[in-house]
Amino acid sequence: MPEVVLRNITMRFGKVVAVDEVDLTIADKEYVTILGPSGCGKTTLIRIIAGLLEPTTGEVHIGGRNMKGVPIEDRDIGYVFQNIALFPHFTVEDNVTYGPMVKDVPRQERGRIAKEYLELVRLLDKMKMFPSELCGGEQQKTSLARALATGAKLLLLDEPLSALDARVRVDLRYDLRRIVKRLGLTTVHVTHDQEEAMSVSDRIVVMRAGGVMESGTPEQLYTRPKDVFTANFVGETNLLEGWVKERMGQKVVIELRDSSVIEVERCDADLGEAVVVSIRPEFVFPFTDGLLSRIEYLTYLGTYSRVRARSQSDDVVEFDVPSIEGKLYHPGQEVYLMINGKAAVVYPRPLEGVSEAVKLE
């Protein structure tokens, strides 16, 4: 069964190191997303798994077999590209059964395969149409059905939803996960979209500058990320600098730059250490004391409003309030903000500075 093992993969293009000593194991039937900003090496990595690129050093094993020298067509994988690559002069049905046709599967059997997979992506009614008659989401579903119809147990998705409208993308990502889970496939999905990664994956691998930063379930990466870059990349967060003023077992007191203090649970930092605290806006609350801040503006987000405030030490602090309470806050107003110490995560202050450590490009 297709477990994928990458051993010490490095890929150089001239002087550029696109992938830098990556070790990664993707379990059988696992849905793994490789998430990272442009230029982090994620596309190079998936192309190496597919066999479209031969790594400079390192090995790819699929289902226990070393893939060195094995071309893409012999790796038994389904591949879906960002730029929808359907045969324009083939009908939807013929596109889907292209793989089986190449493998000389009899016509009748091919018809059955087409029906099976087009039903799965809910396109049975579009079977006889040409790609140009479909909208973007339907075209990409056809690409998916074509990749699935090869019967491959390993599915590689290279930014499969990036070319689609935001709203279509949301609907399709739910479908995507449902389909691959039903078929029990091993899936590697590459994306720069952290929301997409969250909603489809069993596990997310965060890449930056050719290397793997960390990996974990969506919940782990959102609630207890190991690195401050991840904390900022997989969701919006407040980053507040300070130092450890007091230690009480696993609990610490951190003094922020405006000399207000917060208590954080589960923190390993040493007494006196310079730290940065990551706290998501939904865990910051207006209270009777705490971090004194002045509101700059409010943004309406449907079920809640996000308020942006600035502390006396000029740090930006964002917090969420239910939409109905939005009226209670207005620009210029001063508020005291309290931080939920259970939800805060503390990191050593990066040597290069916080803004450099979380830079997106």
Partner: protein, 363 residues
């Protein structure tokens, strides 16, 4: 800065109606997002406003003055395309000064413009860089500076953030908006991304098939959608089809299978067939207590701030709910749950004549 009016604008390409009687008013200095799916006619509208496309019928006015007979360069409106189209062989400074050079502005004005623009888009340290040496965000800012350097009154942005990474897009939203607002220019920003529109716009105009469906503040568009399409396009919604059975402080709607739900007061009469729409974020799920429906949790997805739940309701199908993720762990797949909503969060719409499925289509 001008107030922009589009009046009955029509533009057909063969059988395709890119603009089909488009009416829109944009206020002086306003940041308006034109939101709609691909093919709705968003880009066509921008091209007509700046004069790059000639309309078949209708009028475009800036401050009440018709622009129909003015050439694009005389309208003081500039359009920024989604691909930026910087000159690859020119530096940042040369790209920014492209317009002022063509207009043969005095050197002194050009120097000042360049300094102002570099400062505005925070590229003071990179005037001599070539576009390919810059990150995506910097290229986007260079393109913006070039567009603004000719002294425009109207800024037309065609999916300005599309080419950027998702996370970067989110962090640049506020920057782009405040830049336009600080210059006081009238901005129309075209997007297919409803989150982007909610966050950035003073007002949102929802466009579909060449017509404006609704114009309003983000709160109005989200809370008081005029149609099931808008309700589902801006934030997802659950829909329930039924017949108006009672009209008091709330509307009582009964479905074919006997389920009963409450919704806001409505115009429709007793016995009329209607669609009730509720945002997934306003659809509550709980294990005990009362609910309009009962079903089993089919799937739970952790999405960061929120979790997304699918609940399978016998005889009705799948309903979804978005709840804060701190409730994760209190609900599990297979749990029997109740679903409900407060009546004032549920909108009542007339049953669309072409059917609900066709109405909700997003492409």
């Amino acid at each position: 800065m001008p107030r922009i009016s589009l009046q009955g604008v029509v533009k057909h390409y063969g059988g395709i109606k890119a603009a089909d009687g488009l009416d829109l008013e944009v206020n002086n200095g306003e940041y308006l997002c034109l939101l709609g799916p691909t093919g709705a006619g968003k880009t066509t509208a921008l091209r007509i406003i700046c004069g790059l496309t000639r309309m078949d019928k209708g009028d475009v006015l800036f401050d009440g003055k018709s622009m129909v007979n003015l050439e694009p360069e005389d309208r003081k409106a500039v359009m920024l395309s989604q691909t930026y189209a910087l000159f690859p062989q020119l530096t940042v400074a040369e790209n920014i000064l492209f317009g002022p050079n063509i207009r043969e502005m005095p050197q002194e004005v050009k120097d000042r413009t360049l300094a102002d623009m570099l400062d505005l888009v925070r590229l003071t340290h990179r005037p001599d860089a070539l576009p390919r040496e810059l990150s995506g965000g910097m290229q986007q800012r260079t393109a913006l500076a070039r567009a603004l350097a000719t002294g425009v009154d109207v800024l037309l942005l065609d999916e300005p953030l599309r080419a950027l990474d998702a996370r970067l897009r989110i962090s640049l939203r506020h920057e782009l908006r405040s830049l336009a607002k600080s210059l006081g220019i009238t901005t129309i920003h075209v997007t297919h991304d409803q989150d982007e529109a909610l966050v950035m716009a003073d007002r949102i105009a929802v466009i579909r098939e060449g017509r404006i469906v609704q114009v309003g503040t983000p709160a109005q568009i989200f809370d008081d959608p005029v149609s099931p399409f808008v309700a589902n396009f801006v934030g997802q919604s659950n829909f329930f089809v039924g017949v108006v059975e009672e009209k008091r402080e709330a509307t009582l709607v009964r479905g074919e299978k006997g389920h009963v739900v409450l919704a806001r007061p409505c115009e429709q009469g007793l016995g009329e067939k209607v669609v009730v729409g509720v945002k997934v974020g306003n659809t509550e799920v709980h294990k005990g207590g009362e609910g309009f429906f009962e079903g089993r949790v089919e799937r739970i997805l952790f999405e960061g701030r929120n979790i997304f739940l699918d609940v399978d309701v016998p005889e009705l199908g799948r309903l979804s709910s978005k709840i804060p993720s701190w409730r994760l762990g209190r609900l599990a797949v297979g749990d029997l749950v109740k679903l409900n909503w407060s009546a004032d969060k549920a909108n009542v719409f007339a049953m669309p004549t072409h059917g609900l499925e066709r109405e909700l289509k997003v492409e």
